[in-house]
Amino acid sequence: MKAKPIFQCRDLKIEARPWAQEPIEIVKGISFNVFPGQVVALIGESGSGKTTISLAALGYTKPGLHFSSGEAILLEKDMINLDYEEKRLMRGEHVAYLAQSAAATFNPSLTIGEQVIESALLHGALSKETAEKRAIELYLALELPQPYMIGKLYPHQVSGGQLQRLMAAMALVEKPSLLVLDEPTTALDVTTQIEVLKAIKKVIREEKSAAIYVTHDLSVVAQIADHVVVLYDGVIKEQGTVEEIINNPKHSYTNKLMAAVRPTPKANLIEQSVLESEHSNSALVVKNISAGYGGTNKRTPTKLVLHDVSFSLNHGEVVGIIGESGCGKSTLARVISGLLPASSGQILLNEKELHPSVKNRSLNELQLVQFIFQMADTALNPRQTIGEIIGRPLTFYHGVKGKKRDEEVREIMRLVELPDAFMNRRPTEISGGQKQRVNLARGLAAKPTLLLCDEVTSALDTIVGANVISLLKKLGEETGISFVFISHDLSTVSSFADKIVVLYAGRLVEQGTVQEILSPPFHPYTKLLINSVPELRVGWLEETLKKQSTEVGISGTVEMTDVGCPFYNRCHIKIEGLCNTTSAPLTSSLSGHEIACHHLDMALLE
């Protein structure tokens, strides 16, 4: 690259100055360049300072942080030393920021169109007409549905993936020279992630803008970046072109990141530990469960979320429940735990029927089923110490008190690999991964036979998430607990589960062992999910997008239909006149597992 860099970071140092304490250095001397048309990825786990560095390009630090030395030069101006008014003019026009959560960034009471062109009008860069024209150009480039109409909608009227793309339009409206993207796909489902990645990649190419892409996911980096900067603890560990980093990583930390990338689910590579069904007294049987929300009478909800779902689970087994957000996975867990009583159907625990509502279950039944919530941040009471949190189920279910309780708490903490010293800390004083361990430990303290894990790794970054999964595996082996493991991430599930249940729009579309699910015949939806898991190699995105099933699959959105197959509008092999009128029953396929599709096995093999 001979051209002059658009953005230069020179020995940038940023520190935090906590109240009445010594300053802590967060970013410890970072230097890198961004050239025109180049996408530079900042990669590292949470706490590595990647977001803090990317915000320096806007001359901004989060409250409590200060630039201590170094320069962040954008178009020959040092963003750090500009005054407020000068920064304001640079932002939007020359540098734009795309936040992680589009849903939290849009104002729900203004139309999308108003918000997309707002910054251009505020800066006086464009007139209203040209700005609107420019916005429509961008909607077209980002392949948004109804580009001439979408600006008149409100944020809640479009899907999450569309909102993420609209935020890209908002950032690009003034044709900035540099785009800062902060984990724009991390919170999305795999299928939505493809849709957003594709649009962002295309639009960056077409607009010829440079970009800083912040992420912790190496396989995403492989798809989108030209140059990669690997960060750890505010220090650059390694940087180079994407090919160099992916194919020939030099630093041990990069290798560690590579290892934590979720393996692409492939049937033949997975060792199948098929459990003998001799001692087949099942741990959990879910029979024809329907459930929903709304309505005054619990037995007749106005909005059904789960339709007639059945599956079973033997002792010591792990069943993975997968599907996109909104498919009813978490609702299923809430139904099993009794927090949301089912409107019809039965739940059998150890071959005894459970009352649908948690209020009417006995202490013993409550103890045997424990629910591990998704967000450890909100699932732990910030006002209780770790010791109190883990100790409470011991007292509540088993009447253990005083010194004996402390001892047992310590034992459980050792089981989840937490140091004893954490007993007196509060949840705000430990890291995200540690919180998730406490969350798990609380469930284990009840000594359950069944653990319901709702997306327990989704909020964690790859390395920490991988650690939690290996801990769960270890616990499963040591204690013989059965797991219902809910996730939208097929690769995580397939590395851990024995059986997989695939949900789509509240209906069960396929179930079987991991081996059966990951090998043909596939339900078209399962196939889409499998194809959407990003692979750690350059060029994967383009290849996948060429596949017809992906193309059709990512263009549609989930629709809750009462008639016909719910996947109809996204299916590449739908049968007009049959799939949209009759829902397919679950039938046994050639390989012996159940698929709900009108097609015969042969059509599903490919």
């Binding site: 109240w19 409590g64 750890y232 560990k237 998704q374 732990l380 009471n381 209780q384 890291s431």
Partner: protein
């Protein structure tokens, strides 16, 4: 070079997450917080021992100077060595009345605020946690109380029961319990939708545990912040009742009524009685502002957000 770089990446598997957050030191006040704490402690000492320390009784009329000469008009005298803050509208020592009044003002409003808090929090949190019918009945009844202007409610009650200090305490306590109820209920509603409350519900815990262990500790801080403001409201409420002659009855002094009864002195300027109004007003201000700053200081350390706003 490469080996050197690798050293600082931890190799263990169990604790790979970055930065072990150090345990927080609890409750440390800034210098301004300590100063305000001093003010509050000062007023508490005055409230407890003011009646012994004061040069005169609160109802004592200053009739003659230190040498025994009688005053023509002892009202609204400017400060002298004999009366450090001058005299009030009928010639009583302002300093002594402030010292005596500390007990009445701080005592009544403090006890009333605590009463308002106990009643308001208990009902508010119960309404939020229990929900459904309990919530509907409690909320509607509280709205009835709130729909009356508090001073009207006070007038009616005092007309019925007469004015005495216990009546004043119960009256203002219950009137302000209604607004505490609303705050407590609103704060609790935010807490009970959190996952950790859901966890306890899934565990099968009862109402009492959820109220006392899960909800109350999490709303304590915002409620404490509100305490100072509520205390001021009650001081002002009792002062307005006193102004109407229905609050603290003469000759007992309280700061609020001192401000009111000496208002005419303000027109005479500093030489003629303005201090008799300004001094008790300053007493109210110093106490309430000091309480607020201390609470802000504590919550700034606890949540961290306030310190950022103050910089």
């Amino acid at each position: 070079m490469k080996n050197e770089l690798e050293k600082d990446v931890p190799e263990t598997d169990a604790y790979e997450e970055l930065h072990d957050v150090p345990a927080k030191s609890r409750l440390r006040l800034s210098w301004i917080g300590k100063f305000c704490l001093g003010i509050v402690i000062f007023w508490i000492i005055i409230a407890l021992f003011g009646s012994y320390l004061a040069p005169y009784h609160e109802a004592h009329f200053i009739e003659e100077d230190l040498t025994g000469n009688e005053f023509d008009d002892p009202s609204f005298m400017s400060p002298t060595r004999q009366v450090l803050l001058g005299t009030d509208y009928i010639g009583r020592d302002v300093l002594s009345r402030i010292m005596w009044g500390a007990r009445t003002t701080i005592g009544i409003s403090f006890v009333a605020t605590i009463l308002a808090y106990i009643v308001g929090i208990f009902l508010g949190v119960t309404a939020a946690v229990a929900g459904k019918w309990t919530d509907a009945i409690l909320s509607r009844s509280i709205e009835v109380v709130l729909s009356f202007p508090s001073i009207m409610l006070g007038l009616i009650t005092i007309a019925a029961f007469g004015s005495s200090i216990p009546i004043l305490i119960v009256l203002s306590g219950l009137i302000y319990a209604a607004s505490v109820f609303r705050i407590a209920r609103a704060l609790s509603l935010d807490i009970i939708v959190q996952d950790f409350v859901e966890v306890t519900r899934a565990r099968g815990e009862g109402l009492w545990w959820i109220i006392t262990r899960e909800v109350l500790p999490n709303i304590a801080m915002p409620l404490a912040t509100d305490f100072g403001i509520r205390l001021i409201f009650i001081i002002l409420f009792i002062s307005s009742l006193s102004f109407l002659g229905l609050g603290v009855q003469p000759p007992i002094s309280d700061w609020g009524s001192m401000v009111r009864e000496n208002l005419q002195g303000l027109a005479n300027g500093f030489s003629g009685g303005a201090i008799a109004t300004i001094a008790p007003a300053l007493a109210i201000a110093s106490l309430t502002i000091a309480i607020n700053i201390i609470i802000d200081d504590i919550s700034a350390h606890d949540g961290g957000s306030l310190s950022g706003k103050m910089v």
